[in-house]
Each structure stands twice: as structure tokens, then as C-alpha cells.
């Protein structure tokens, strides 16, 4: 039995606007990787943002390491008991957002972007010290970009920027790494580098939750699959969950083909 890094019991996350995804009942242990698979708009990003604390937990419970949150606040329903989530416990999270839009002229170096991963640990008052610079260097080495540390972020290629943002997530030295569609638009070398990095992280005991349309990746890197469409459909080992029937049900009405490597879903980028 592995130690759980994150655990959700019948958890529902609801945006203040009212849209919600729910029924999440799963746990991820140290060194385990979970592929989060579902059609666009299925709630994959909402789940990731919910774990980050950006979308309120309105039903059930969620624990990160130790219990940190039960649904609370005005949005919570009767079944939830109010317990305050401690903000500091989220320091163990690393997050790679879906392809981010930013100002390419922004005067900031790769190294400085990666350092932002340390800010949650530093808080407002402390400035980066030796340990933080070492963590940044290590994160850059992990993604193979140490040579480009001083390069302005806007001058990097798209794939390098994506790896740089992964390094930022790693600089937080996370126990749980959340990745939102990290393989979209990556060329083969950058994709291979990302796969290698994720494998190494798993060996180091990091838990990974990665949303993707890439079944090959799910099979190469992930132990478990979480199928989502408006909520959790099924969760379990790759071989058990990733069956044609399950995937067709998940992508409901969309024509899906599945062979040993690829999931062909019309309208989706990547594999």
C-alpha cells in the first residue's frame, strides 16, 4: 500500500458561476502517475484547478498528504462539514498550465521564470537564497535547459518554453505534479524529453496527474487512468480502464478509434 499524496472522496468542484464536476473518488500514491482522459469540456481542467484550490470544493472531501479540505463556505451543500483548508499545504503542488499565453516581449529570463516556482515556499517577505537557486538549477537540468538559463523567455521556442514551465513546476519540489495537456503542440524531441522527465520524477516518488489525449503517453508513463466526462466515469489500471467500450462511452457520440498506440478523436489535437 503506497502512501497517498492526494485523495478525493466523492468530491465535487463548483465554479462560482454554477457549473460543476463531481463524483471524484480516487487516490494517487507516491511515484504513481495517472492519465486524466476525457473529451474537451469534460472537466479535466476544472479537476486540476480544484485540486489547486482555484475552484471551490463544494461536496465531499479532499486530502493532500494529510486532510486539508472538506467542502466549506456558502457554496457547500448540507453533506459537507466545514473545515478550513490550510493554504500552506498546497506548497507541495506543482502545476504546468495548458499552453499559456503571455507577452513575448516581457523582459524576463528563463531562470527567473523557473524561480517563480519557489515563490509559494518563500512567501511575501523572503527573497530567494542559495537553496532556491540550487533548486532552480536542478529543475533546469532535469528538463535539459540549463544552457539557456539566462536566455529571455520570449526568445525560446514553443517546446523549450513548455519545458521551462515544467521546470518552474519542478522547482517547487512538488509531491504532486499536475499537468494540463502538456503534450499539445510538442515536436517529437521535446515530447521524448517530457516522457523521460516524467519517468524520472516517478522514480523519485513524485505523484503525477496529467490530462492528455495521448494514449501512447498514458501507456508509456502512467499506471492508472481516470476517465472523465462531467465527472468521474472510471478509475483504475491502464489495461482495465482503457478499453474501447469505456473510451467510447466517455467520448459519448464522438467517433473514436483505438489501437495499441493512438486514440483518434475527431476535433482533438495530438494523438
Amino acid at each position: 500500500m503506497t502512501e497517498n499524496v492526494v485523495r478525493l472522496d466523492d468530491a465535487t468542484f463548483t465554479y462560482p458561476g454554477g457549473s460543476s464536476v463531481g463524483g471524484f473518488d480516487f487516490a494517487i500514491g507516491r511515484g504513481e502517475a495517472v492519465a486524466l482522459i476525457g473529451p474537451n469540456g469534460a472537466g479535466k481542467s476544472t479537476l486540476l484547478r480544484g485540486i489547486l484550490g482555484l475552484v471551490p470544493l463544494t461536496h465531499g472531501r479532499m486530502s493532500l498528504g494529510e486532510p486539508v479540505g472538506e467542502a466549506s463556505g456558502p457554496m457547500a451543500d448540507a453533506a459537507a462539514r466545514p473545515v478550513t483548508a490550510k493554504h500552506s499545504d498546497r506548497g507541495m503542488l506543482g502545476f504546468l498550465p495548458q499552453s499559456m499565453e503571455f507577452d513575448l516581449d516581457f523582459p524576463i529570463s528563463l531562470e527567473q521564470v523557473v524561480m517563480q516556482g519557489r515563490y509559494r515556499r518563500l512567501g511575501l517577505l523572503r527573497w530567494p537564497g542559495r537553496a532556491d537557486r540550487a533548486a532552480v538549477r536542478h529543475a533546469l537540468e532535469t528538463v535539459g535547459l540549463e544552457e539557456l538559463a539566462a536566455t529571455r523567455f520570449g526568445q525560446l521556442s514553443g517546446g523549450q518554453r513548455q519545458r521551462g514551465l515544467l521546470a518552474r513546476a519542478l522547482a517547487a519540489e512538488p509531491e504532486l505534479l499536475l499537468l494540463d495537456e502538456p503534450f499539445n503542440g510538442l515536436d517529437q524531441p521535446n515530447r521524448d524529453a517530457l516522457v523521460a522527465t516524467l519517468r524520472r520524477l516517478k522514480r523519485d516518488g513524485v505523484a503525477v496527474l496529467v490530462s492528455t489525449h495521448d494514449l501512447e503517453l498514458a501507456q508509456q508513463v502512467c499506471d492508472l487512468v481516470l476517465l472523465v466526462n462531467g465527472g468521474q466515469l472510471s478509475f483504475g489500471p491502464v489495461a482495465d480502464v482503457l478499453t474501447l467500450g469505456n473510451v467510447q462511452r466517455c467520448f459519448d457520440g464522438v467517433e473514436v478509434e483505438i489501437d495499441e498506440h493512438t486514440l483518434v478523436v475527431p476535433g482533438h489535437e495530438g494523438h
Binding site: P97, M100, P107, S109, Y119, L122, L124
Partner: protein, 301 residues
């Protein structure tokens, strides 16, 4: 009048010395805060704050005379910062919200000033400052207000830069967008307060906007932007005061000090922009020369 006399001798005169001290402190702080204003694209919010402070100046003057100006401005600035930050969160189109606040507060200020005996004189002092007639007792409060703005920015600086670069990432890392925006808006408001009594509530915008823009033209290294903006602002303030002094004492042309300083700011920006454009053109020239040489090489190979 010799150049040395204008640049150095002038500031031996007590009122010129006081003006220099207050303007240098304001310039350095406004330069640093202005880099964040530039990176966040908050120029229009800053403009809104300069107008929001105006009724505070006017009411302060009406109640407490000259001594009431600074406290009045401080209260108005804090209220304005909270109001504009809150407006930015409510989904009211930010520009529309700022424009409403800006015109409303400004008209309130004009109405208050219009009740005073010396309407034109009071309005002019509030709008265009009175840097050469700052009483000695007001130097310290102005310096304190400026330093408070600097402390606020120093405390939240790295998180402000994170939010400027990647708002979603900053939020995901647990930073409160409202808290950061409020902190920065209050820092801008404090600069406006310090500037309103010196260069006036309208021209202080130049202190917040021009040095940051100059720094962006000069460097792409993040932490260099702050000293570049501060040094530029300080240098331009000094030269502006000296130029105004030389014109009025040496040539008998009575230039308003605040406006002269701002004119030097804009002149400095124009010079830096010109140099930058020339440098870019020169760099492009060299690159295309390289290309054509390489092209020739390929053809002959």
C-alpha cells in the same frame, strides 16, 4: 550664468535645495513603481488615481489650508486605490470604470476649489504643483509618503512581477490577485500624493509612466529596469530644475518648474527612443549584410 552655476550653485539657494531633495526622492520612488506600472500596463489606472486624488487635495486645502493638502490627498488616494481595485474585480469593463471614477472625482475637486476665494491660484497650485514653494515643514512628510510606496513595492515586488508575467500562474501559486492589485494601486496612489504637492496632480503621471518606458527601451534585463528608471527620473528631475532656474534667473524667462521638469522627462524619452531606433536599424543593417555575404558564399560554393 555659467553651466556649473545652474547645475550645482542653484541648489545652494534654500528653496531650490528643498525642491531638489523632494523631487529626487519622488523621482527614484516613482521610477521604481513606474516599472511595475509599465509591466502591468496600469498607465490608465494611474491616470485615474491622479484624478481621484484631486478632490482630496481640494477638500484638504479648503479645510486645513496648505497643511491640509497632504492628509487630504492621502485619504483620497487610499479610497481611490480601493475603489479602482474593486472595480477591476467586478467585471465592469475596467477602462469604463476608471473613466467614470476619473471624471467624477475630478469634477468634485473642481467644485470644491471653485468655492475658495482664490479660485484660479488654488486650482493652479493643485493641478501644476508648487515645487519651488514647498515649506520646510512639508519636506519630511513628502519623503515619508514616498518611502512608504517604496516599502510596499519592495515587499510585494517579486509576486507583482510574477502576476505581471503570468496572472494565472501567480493565482495558482496561491497569491491573491486582489491583494497584489490593491498593494500596487496603493503604492501608485502614494506616489501620486507625494507628486501632487510638488509637480501637481496632473504632471505626476509623467513621473510614473516615462521612466518605466525609458527603462523598457534601454534593457530587457528584469532587475536592471528598476535602477535604470530611478536613475533616469532623478537625472531628468535635476536637469529640469536646473534648466528652469537658468531660464528664469539667467534669461529672465519665468518657466513653471514642474512643467519644465516634465518637459525634460519627455525630451529624455525622445532621445532614448531615437538612439534605440538608430541602434535597431544599425543592428538590422549588420545582420542583412551578414546574410548577403553568406548568400554570396553559398552561390559561389
Amino acid at each position: 550664468m555659467s553651466l556649473g552655476e545652474a547645475l550645482f550653485g542653484a541648489f545652494a539657494v534654500p528653496f531650490m535645495g528643498r525642491a531638489l531633495v523632494v523631487l529626487l526622492v519622488l523621482a527614484i520612488v516613482a521610477g521604481v513603481v513606474g516599472v511595475l506600472v509599465n509591466l502591468r500596463g496600469l498607465e490608465f489606472i494611474s491616470d485615474g488615481l491622479t484624478h481621484a486624488v484631486f478632490p482630496g487635495l481640494a477638500i484638504g486645502l479648503a479645510i486645513g489650508g496648505t497643511a491640509g493638502v497632504l492628509p487630504g490627498a492621502a485619504v483620497a488616494a487610499l479610497l481611490g486605490a480601493v475603489l479602482l481595485t474593486w472595480l477591476g474585480r467586478t467585471g465592469v469593463t475596467t477602462d469604463a470604470g476608471i473613466a467614470v471614477v476619473l471624471t467624477t472625482t475630478f469634477s468634485i475637486g473642481v467644485i470644491v476649489v471653485s468655492r475658495s476665494d482664490d479660485y484660479a491660484g488654488a486650482l493652479e497650485a493643485l493641478l501644476f504643483g508648487r515645487v519651488l514653494t514647498i515649506p520646510p515643514s512639508e519636506v519630511l512628510p513628502l519623503v515619508v509618503v514616498s518611502v512608504l510606496a517604496l516599502v510596499l513595492v519592495a515587499l510585494t515586488g517579486k509576486q507583482q512581477l510574477f502576476r505581471a508575467f503570468d496572472p494565472a500562474g501567480s493565482r495558482a501559486a496561491g497569491d491573491s490577485p486582489f491583494g497584489l492589485d490593491l498593494g500596487l494601486n496603493i503604492a501608485v496612489a502614494l506616489v501620486v500624493v507625494a507628486g501632487a504637492s510638488t509637480v501637481g496632480s496632473l504632471l505626476v503621471l509623467a513621473f510614473l509612466v516615462v521612466p518605466g518606458a525609458v527603462a523598457r527601451l534601454v534593457s530587457v534585463r528584469l532587475w536592471l529596469l528598476f535602477p535604470i528608471a530611478a536613475v533616469f527620473a532623478a537625472l531628468a528631475s535635476w536637469l529640469g530644475l536646473a534648466a528652469g532656474f537658468a531660464a528664469s534667473v539667467g534669461a529672465g524667462v519665468d518657466l513653471p518648474a514642474g512643467s519644465t521638469v516634465v518637459a525634460v522627462f519627455v525630451l529624455g524619452y525622445a532621445i532614448v527612443l531615437g538612439v534605440r531606433l538608430l541602434r535597431d536599424r544599425f543592428a538590422r543593417g549588420i545582420r542583412s549584410e551578414h546574410r548577403s555575404v553568406a548568400g554570396t558564399g553559398e552561390r559561389t560554393a
